[in-house]
Symmetry: C2
Subunit: 432 residues, 2 copies
């Protein structure tokens, strides 16, 4: 049985996503496809434009069999933490055999070689890394230079090639492969060429817009242009969600909440949270007080070292009060559950197989999570290594994230919270 | 030298306030008048409609010589804590000789008798109180019944008279007198009849509207009616503030911030805060998650026992994360500083006298507060009993309260925070 695993955000699902999904399926010819998808907050440090259940629904309609939620603690981390969570979920299913991800270099052997170094952390590499950090480089750059020196020293490859890992999909891909190695997972990684402007029009129907530009079109109400950029199924669900007042949700909507919370924190409060190193605690404390809005705040915090994406993520760490120890334990122990957001008729079969082999407990009805947890802890045969405290912390964060997200729906009645308790996983039957 | 002290909110300053100020001055014929005024959040658990500096400015124009800020930790407490803070500030000046407050009963001897019982806490009264509480009455009611039994038993007064303390000004007045007794202060308390609808029109020019109804008029943009209800000086400042986009600020503006913060709290987080007894932690936790807006939330939390005012105050305790120990220490030790919001030419003279006799350090320029604190701690002659930690905690809360308040100004540029550092105390010279 071949099961394809993919890592997605679908914020929202567009033509490029469909292309990627089709190519991945052509490559693997899987019996089933599983997606692990960000919930209501995404890796760019922003709320999802429409909520996770509707995004899962689109994924099912477009050919995914089961959608699991990437727990929030991973979904809003940088490439390392994000990949750690995503691979943790896919590996945790016990059934995924192959993962496919987009890559600018499209060179899996190259990524594997680099990932191996990062996984094994040989002394010489660590020494180079230490030296480069001492020179004052940021971590990503120090790592790059250390890798270049290391591959040169050991004649592994042309050091110039290492620079390929500067591009966003390769950065993520490298972390996926590394996470596979770290976990000792049997999943086989594959790349497909990241589709960009260089793709021929005839190869693909419709416009190729990025998720970012589609969100911009939605914000501007240019739904005709959105229609050209996303598959029909996606367009229908997006329109339904917007008509019913469940979105669109933008970071700017959360301006008062974010700035308000930051203005109420002491500098020490920031220091206790994950990621506030390099004086960022002081910058956040100072600039949140003297900025009229989020844009001004981000401009003030920004520097060569601190990108907008990092700043947005850090704002979410403040919002969710993500303490260091919680994130570090999450990165060490991995995701603690498989939260189903949706499944198809065929996905249902896969889920029933998974019930016997998954390495993590499966959460379907959130209100019953304590029972799921108890059962997992008692299951001596499967030996699930679930940390009950971490399980609860991760799940409660997902629930809180949803409760904050829905507060920014346009319809007052939809702002009622606890969607995670009210909405059952989406089931897409053959008839629909 | 006679110095009149008054406790005010001026949210905003209206005809009734002017009447009260004039009557109080007629009664005392003071050399100077000092007001202690709520800052940017008021006792009803709401943000002030315009900010504290402009409200202080109006007070000066209307005949107050010095305005001190009532530290936020007291300004948003119930009558007991509010009075503890207000009397603490007035007594802390070292110069106030008389205070005058509005009273429905207008019977200072009656209030003194009751306050004495509350101050002395005789065993028999405590026993009655204990018994009434055991019957399941809320604290205010249990206290009333215990007092009724006590005054009857000791033939102090007709027990029916005790019921007079059910009215809001008498409740506050009682707490003022009690705080005077608790502090062993030499200040003499006086009452004047609370002006209401029973006042004859000719006795007073203009409309007599409550601050609540004036705020409602401002919200509805009915400035012509506002003009009739407030002195001209007040009207001008209100209009200037609104034109420049510094307000009006309403609780509803803070809806997403309040509801967002509450949705992110665990039940335990509520329990650690001041005032979350009687299952209120559970009610706040549960209902914040399932309410679409603040109004719905308050309706859900409300019961016979929990009034809207109490609920609003509790929301502010969550907002400002007012922990039990901080509020309890504040109520025990009293305000730790005299924060000047504004003064007149004549007020300046009074302030220079105060510099030698005040029992609390005087904060004029907030950025220099550490120097003020150090000096106070070294001043062995005055023996100021300042708790440096509490001083800082109280002042930082005032600063945070301002930073949150200004976030809801209408003008983006005015939302820039740190007004407490940017705005010097208002000085009203004779020429202006």
């Amino acid at each position: 049985m071949k099961v394809l695993g993919i890592v997605v955000e679908y914020n929202p699902f567009h033509n490029g996503h469909l292309f990627h999904l089709q190519k991945a399926k052509e490559l693997i010819r899987p019996d089933y496809t599983i997606a692990v998808m960000s919930g209501n907050f995404c890796q760019r440090g922003e709320p999802a434009i429409i909520d996770k259940f509707s995004r899962a629904e689109i994924a099912l309609k477009m050919g995914v069999d089961v959608v699991f939620e990437l727990p929030t603690v991973y979904a809003i981390q940088d490439a390392g933490g994000f990949a750690r969570g995503a691979i943790g979920v896919l590996d945790g299913t016990g059934v995924v055999t192959d993962i496919v991800f987009g890559s600018e270099s499209n060179d899996i052997e190259f990524l594997k070689k680099i990932a191996e170094i990062l996984h094994e952390q040989p002394d010489l590499y660590n020494q180079f890394l230490h030296e480069e950090l001492k020179k004052g480089y940021s971590f990503p750059n120090a790592r790059k230079y250390a890798l270049m020196r290391y591959v040169e020293e050991l004649k592994i490859m042309d050091p110039e090639k290492v620079k390929l890992i500067e591009r966003s999909n390769d950065i993520l891909g490298l972390e996926y492969v590394r996470a596979i190695l770290d976990l000792g997972s049997n999943i086989t990684p594959h790349t497909i060429k990241r589709m960009g402007a260089d793709y021929k029009e005839e190869e693909f129907k419709g416009r190729l817009s990025s998720a970012t530009s589609i969100r911009k079109l939605i914000r501007e109400g240019k739904m005709d242009l959105v229609r050209e950029s996303v598959p029909e199924e996606s367009f229908e669900v997006i329109c339904r969600e917007l008509e019913e007042g469940r979105g669109p949700v933008f970071l700017e909507d959360m301006e008062k909440l974010l700035l308000g919370i930051m203005r109420l924190k002491d500098r020490d409060d920031f220091s206790k949270l994950y990621g506030f190193s390099e004086g960022l605690d002081e910058r956040f404390h100072r600039f949140s007080r003297v900025s009229s809005n989020i844009e001004e705040f981000m401009e003030k915090v920004k520097s060569k070292r601190f990108t907008f994406t990092r700043i947005r993520r850090l704002m979410l760490y403040v919002l969710f009060e993500m303490r260091k120890d919680f994130v570090e334990r999450s990165n060490e122990k991995g995701p603690q559950y498989l939260r189903i957001l949706g499944f198809t008729e065929s996905g249902r079969k896969l889920l029933s197989k998974m019930k016997k082999v998954s390495k993590l407990p499966i959460v379907s009805t959130v209100s019953l999570y304590r029972k799921v947890l108890e059962k997992a802890l008692k299951d001596e045969e499967r030996n699930m290594y679930v940390d009950p405290e971490l399980f609860e912390e991760q799940l409660l964060l997902d629930i809180k994230a949803t409760n904050v997200h829905s507060l920014f729906f346009k319809s007052d009645s939809e702002r009622k919270g606890e969607r995670d308790f009210r909405i059952q996983p989406i089931f897409l039957s053959l008839d629909t």
